[in-house]
Every structure is written in C-alpha cells, then in structure tokens.
C-alpha cells in the first residue's frame, strides 16, 4: 500500500491563549497549511487529559498534537509544564500499545508564531503520511465503513 494518496487524520489540542491565537494569526495572515488537522480548543495545554489522546487514537486519529504556550509564557503560569510531563509519560505508554512515539507530538506555539504553526502542521502531516495510517484495531473503521 503506497501512501501517496493517504490523507492522515490529525487531532490538535490547542491552548486558547497562545497556540489557538497563533493559529488564528496564521489564518488572518492568509498563510496556507495542510488542512488535515482538526483543532480542539482547550483553555490550557495543562487541561489535555491523556484520556483525550487515547480517545483520539481510538477514534482513528493517525496523529495527535498538543500545542501550548512557551514555558514561562503560560497564562496560567504552569499549565504547559504539566502538559510536558504528561507528554513524556504518555509517549512511553503509547509505544507499549504499539503506537509509534512520533504520532504524538508536543509543540510550543506562541500567539505571534503563526508561521511556526503553519510549519508544524505541514511537517506533522508529511511525517504521518510517510508513516502511513495507524490501523489501530485492524482497520475496524475501514471494515465498518466498507
């Protein structure tokens, strides 16, 4: 199965204060980037519960991204530090479940870094595209769909 025409489905948890605004800035600045990522807005990257990531993969996401403010910039002081710890631990857990570590990324995007958000989305999409679909549970969905 070649992957060229494979369109990965990505889920992004963006914190309102920095990353979501950054994404918004990319939009208002008319930057174009891969549409594969679907965004869920949370008040702070610290809010992202590991269950959300697992739920996303279960539902068929090929890659999950958490993006928060730069360390020290967090509107709630420490939220992003919590996200960082959870990301490190969760990556290990995902490997044990057979999900490649690269499919779960943590990025810092500040409100002004519209360009950076664009770069992250494109890179992440390419990377997942090269890795191919996740087919977590033997392609239940495909079977269900088919």
């Amino acid at each position: 199965m070649t992957h060229e025409n494979f369109e990965p489905k990505l889920v992004g948890f963006l914190c309102t204060w920095c990353s979501y605004t950054g994404a918004d800035l990319a939009g208002t600045a008319r930057m174009d980037y891969a549409p594969n990522m679907r965004v869920i807005r949370v008040m702070c990257s610290g809010r992202v519960d590991p269950q959300f990531v697992l739920k996303a993969f279960k539902e068929g996401a090929d890659g999950v991204l958490i993006s928060g403010c730069h360390p020290g910039d967090c509107h709630y002081q420490e939220g992003n530090y919590k996200a960082l710890r959870r990301h490190r631990l969760l990556s290990k857990l995902l490997e044990q479940l057979g999900i490649e570590k690269e499919r779960f990324r943590l990025e810092w995007v500040s409100a002004a870094e519209g360009a950076k958000f664009q770069k992250v989305c494109n890179e992440f999409t390419e990377e997942i595209r090269n890795m191919g679909p996740l087919n977590l549970n033997g392609g239940i969905h495909e079977q269900a769909k088919a």
């Binding site: 889920v11 008040m43 702070c44 919590k82």
Partner: protein, 584 residues
C-alpha cells in the same frame, strides 16, 4: 523682649538678638564682610563697628554684640565711621583685587588706600567664611587658618590636597570675593545623555520642564549624607517640608486595574560602529541634540559643536537602528518627524547647510506632510538613501577637519560624500530597559519585537490577556505623542469602565468539584498555581474558591476520580468533540 534705640529710632526685639539684626529690622544699613546669617558671627573684619553710648562709650562689633535693655547705639557716629573706614582701607591694601571690598569702599567714600599694597591680585580678605562653612555647615573641616599675623592664610594641612575635602564647593559659594574658586578638572566638552537639564545643586528640580515642578534631594551630592551636618535647606524652608530622615519605603496598594505605561528606550547608537558615535565628538544622538537645543540645557539653547563654535553644515541620518534586519526590523514611527523638526530648528537658529538622509519620509500625521513641504522650501537638502558610514578621513582639502557622510543616493543612483561639521543620528525606539521583568511581574506576554502584546491589535488594542491590566504609550509599540495621548485616554477609560461596573465578572469556565466523587486525595490542592483549592478537613473533601480559580483546567485533567470538572470544557464535551471529528 528688649527695648533699645538705634540712631534715635526705638525698636523692640527678643532677647539674644544682635545689634545688626535689630538694625536690619529698622532698615538701617551696616556694612559687613565676614558676617553670614547662617554662620556663627566671627567678628574678625571689624567693618561693622558701631558706637555704644553710655558711661564708657566704646565701639562694639554689631554682628555679634547682643542687645541689652536701654542700649543706645549710633551707627553713624564720627568715631565709628572713621574706624570702619580705616579698617576697610587696611583690607583694601591686603586684598586689592576683591571687587566686593572696592564696592564697599566706594559706598563709604574711600577712593584709594593709604597703605602699602603687597600683592596687587590678592583677593582673600581672611574673613574666615570658607573655613567656618567647612566646619559649621559642611562638617568636613578640610581647611583652616595657618600662620600668625600678616602671613595668616587659609590652608590645607601641609598644603597638600586634603582627604577630608568632599568637593562640595560650599567654601567657594560662601566666599564673598571669589578668592576660592573651583574648576571641573576633567573637562567634558561632549554633550552626553547624562548631562542634566537644569541646576546641578544637591536640592534641585529634575529638569526645568519637570511636571510636577517639585524639588528633590540628590543623596549623592547632598552634604548631609556625607558628613551628617549641614541641613541648611531644612532650616530655611518655611513650610518645614524637608525631613532628611525619610527613607524609601515599599507600600502595597490594592488596585482594581493597572495601566502599564513603562515607556521606551532609545536605540544605543554606538551599536552601529560605522556611524562613529562615541568615536567622533560631533556625532550626537537625537536625544543629545534635544538637550543641546533645550533652553535649560548645557549650552542654554545655542547649537554649538564641542569646540564651542557654530556648525557650518549638519547631517541628519534617519532610521538609525530601525527598519534594519541587523537591529530592529520595525519602523520606530517618530524619527522622521522629529528629524524634520531638527532640520527646521537648525535652519532657524543657525545658518548651517542641512542635509537630511532618509529612506521613506513618513509624515503620516495631521499637518505632517505640509510641514515637510515647508522644510523643502526652507532649503533643507533631502537625500534619499541609507547612510553607510561617517568618517573623518578627508580625500580632498575641502573635507579637511570635517565629518564625511558616505551615502548611496538612490535617486541619483550614485555614491556621494557629504562633508559636514555635525551628524545627528535619528535613533529609533526600543522596548524599555526592564521590559521583560515587567512582563514577568504582570504575567503578560510580549510580541516578537518584545513590545507588550495587546489582547487584540484591532478589537482590544489597550488591554492585555490578563483582565484589568491595560497598556499605553511606547511600551506597546513605538508611537509619537499624539498617539500616546490618545491611547492613554483609551486605557484610562477602559480601566474606569471596569471599576465603574461595580460587579466583578467571574471566569465562566472555572472548575468545580463534585462532592460525592471527591475522595479527598488532595492531589489537586498542590497542583493549582493560584492556590484556589483548599482541603476541607471536616467534610474530608477539597473545595474550589470560585473567585481565585482562573479556569485553566489542569486540576480537572489530573483528578483520578474525575470529581473535578471544568464548566464548558467537561470531559464528555471534549470526548464528543473528538468523536465529532471522525464522523464522515
């Protein structure tokens, strides 16, 4: 109270007043040389002698003789005047070059002294005012008298510079005949930023145009903080508004809202070595030129080079440190207009040739463009191009002793060398020195050029992400005075609006703990950065304080039992969102 008569006039004064003070009350002039109201009377010059009538009528010094009941004083008796004149003649012989003595002599009608003049340019009349000032007021005791009789002189120990001297120049200030003067040993011709704009005494107003115009005490140069003495200002201030014991104190003020207007810092021109700031004396920054032009500046408004004469040709260089990838990419917005102002002032105050090096003339404001056209009519030479270098190496004798500005004139399409006497660098604006600390303290974020980040460039330009904190002025981005004033008004009204409402909007998205589910594990308590959660011992559960909770949701994701839920971002809602993504 003591009653006495002076020259026939009756006067009543308190006990302990001197005859001189009583006479002053009656506006009877008595000459003095070694007397000063702030010092103990020394009674050495003997020029203030008056006649005290009585059984042994004798002459007494009016400066230190205390009045007594029923005293009868004659200030103009023949014997007193004769003695005073003779004493003054003696002083004239000792200090022929002292103007004050010559004036006093004319007043008393003495043309020439009959005594031998030893040193024609001697000014010191040995009145001791300097020595006593140094002892009684300054408390440094750096100078005193030496030798006896005719060779008495004011001296430092062994004639060497005295360590006790704190260089306060009080002695020169009190010297009636300028026998003691002081000179600034390290001559500073160059006009530099730290040059003060106004008097440089220990008690002074910051600058003449300070608002409010309130004097302050500069601790570094105030004598009291060096020797513990002086406090003359405290003594003479009628309102008793001075208290040297006051200390800086930190006070906590409860406020509803904060407006950050921490201003800007001008670009440090020495970061561009090519322009030669700091190397050539006559390359100055815009702020220094402002001080040069300011009436209370070091040259009281005259535009002079460091050697004191007027420049024949002046170059103004725009966008120094702005619109430049190597320094600041943004445009500092104000330099064009103040440079035009400089050009106009130069034309008005001097007949120098003015060259203005610009890239784009940004006259965006009301009446700005018209001002630019006026400048062109006045004959300022506008050269479009970024200046590459300022050098003093002449190629032709015409450039001898001049500063040569090398520039690529983009309109003519050639490289030109303009010889000038003075170069003004229109330095741009940069965020204030402690911009980052302020951002950290108020927990607001900065934009890429590290000016403060407004909540939204169009919809909320004066507020920040933190409620109740607003921005005004150049700390948010470079702007000129009209814009700053407008923004300040906006910020103030926003702050007032917040305060006026009377109610306090709570965050709608705070977390709440479900009492049945909460097992009291207190994991969330230590987690919350805003200490909004505290453990309720009786109930054995944790509770969230609505007013403090900012709604970040960190506790919700950490709660093992899911007892803590964030309104509008409940787990189910997010799960539903995730599922929603994958519905085809």
């Amino acid at each position: 109270m003591v009653k006495l008569t002076i020259d026939g006039k009756k006067v009543e004064v308190e006990e302990g007043t001197t005859i001189l003070q009583a006479a002053e009350k009656l506006e009877i002039p008595i000459p003095t040389l070694c007397y000063h109201p702030l010092l103990e009377p020394y009674a050495a010059c003997r020029v203030c002698m008056v006649e005290l009538k009585g059984e042994t009528c004798k002459l007494v010094p009016s400066c230190n003789t205390k009045v007594a009941e029923g005293m009868e004083i004659e200030t103009k008796s023949e014997r007193a005047v004769k003695a005073r004149k003779l004493n003054l003649e003696l002083i004239m012989a000792r200090a022929p070059a002292a103007e004050k003595v010559q004036e006093l002599a004319k007043e008393m009608g003495i043309e020439k002294t009959r005594f031998e003049i030893i040193d024609p340019d001697e000014k010191c009349i040995l009145c001791g005012l300097c020595v006593r000032t140094c002892e009684e007021i300054v408390g440094a005791n750096a100078i005193s008298f030496a030798n006896r009789g005719k060779d008495r002189m004011v001296f430092t120990p062994y004639g060497e510079p005295s360590e006790a001297c704190i260089g306060c120049t009080a002695c020169a200030f009190f010297c009636p005949t300028e026998a003691i003067t002081f000179e600034d040993i390290h001559k500073r011709l160059v006009v530099h930023e730290e040059m003060e704009l106004g008097p440089s005494t220990a008690v002074r107003v910051p600058i003449r145009q300070a608002v409010p115009m309130v004097p302050f005490i500069d601790e570094d140069s105030c004598i009291h903080f060096k020797t513990g003495e002086c406090k003359i200002c405290e003594r003479v201030c009628e309102k008793e508004a001075i208290n040297h014991e006051m200390e800086d104190e930190e006070i906590e003020v409860e406020v509803g809202s904060i407006i950050l207007a921490s201003g800007f810092k001008s670009f440090d021109a020495s970061r561009i070595p090519a322009y030669g700031y700091g190397r050539y004396e006559n390359v100055i920054t815009a702020l220094e030129f402002e001080k040069l032009v300011n009436a209370s500046g070091p040259t009281s408004g005259k535009i002079l080079m460091t050697n004191g004469n007027e420049p024949q040709a002046v170059g103004i260089v725009h966008c120094v440190g702005s619109r430049d990838k190597k320094y600041n990419e943004y445009c500092s917005r104000v330099c064009c207009m103040y440079s035009l102002k400089f050009a106009h002032l130069l034309k008005e105050k001097t007949n120098a040739e003015v060259y203005d090096f610009y890239i784009d003339m940004r006259c965006f404001g009301k009446g700005y463009e018209e001002f630019y056209h006026r400048l062109m009519k006045e004959g300022t030479n506008f050269i479009r191009g970024r200046v590459s270098e300022v050098t003093d190496m002449p190629l032709t004798e015409k450039e001898e002793g001049k500063l040569i500005i090398r520039v690529e004139d983009t309109l003519l399409g050639e490289i030109r060398r303009i010889p000038v006497d003075m170069v003004i660098l229109a330095t741009g604006l940069e965020p204030g020195i402690d911009q980052n600390e302020i951002a950290k303290v108020f927990n607001i974020s900065c934009s890429q050029d590290s000016f403060f980040l407004e909540r939204h460039p169009k919809l909320a330009p004066v507020s920040t992400f933190s409620d109740g904190i607003f921005l005004a002025g150049a700390c948010q981005s470079p702007k000129d005075i009209p814009d700053t004033v407008a923004q300040a008004g906006a910020a103030a009204s926003q702050a007032l609006a917040l305060a006026d409402k009377g109610t306090f909007e709570l965050e709608p998205i705070t977390a709440v703990i479900n009492e049945e589910l909460c097992a009291g594990c207190q994991l969330c308590v230590s987690l919350c950065p805003f200490t909004a959660i505290n453990y309720n011992a009786e109930k054995g559960i944790s509770e969230i304080n609505d007013a403090l909770c900012k709604g970040c949701g960190t506790c919700v994701s950490a709660c093992p039992s899911g007892a803590s839920q964030q309104k509008h971002f409940r787990d189910e809602q997010i799960f539903a969102e995730i599922e929603g993504i994958f519905i085809e």
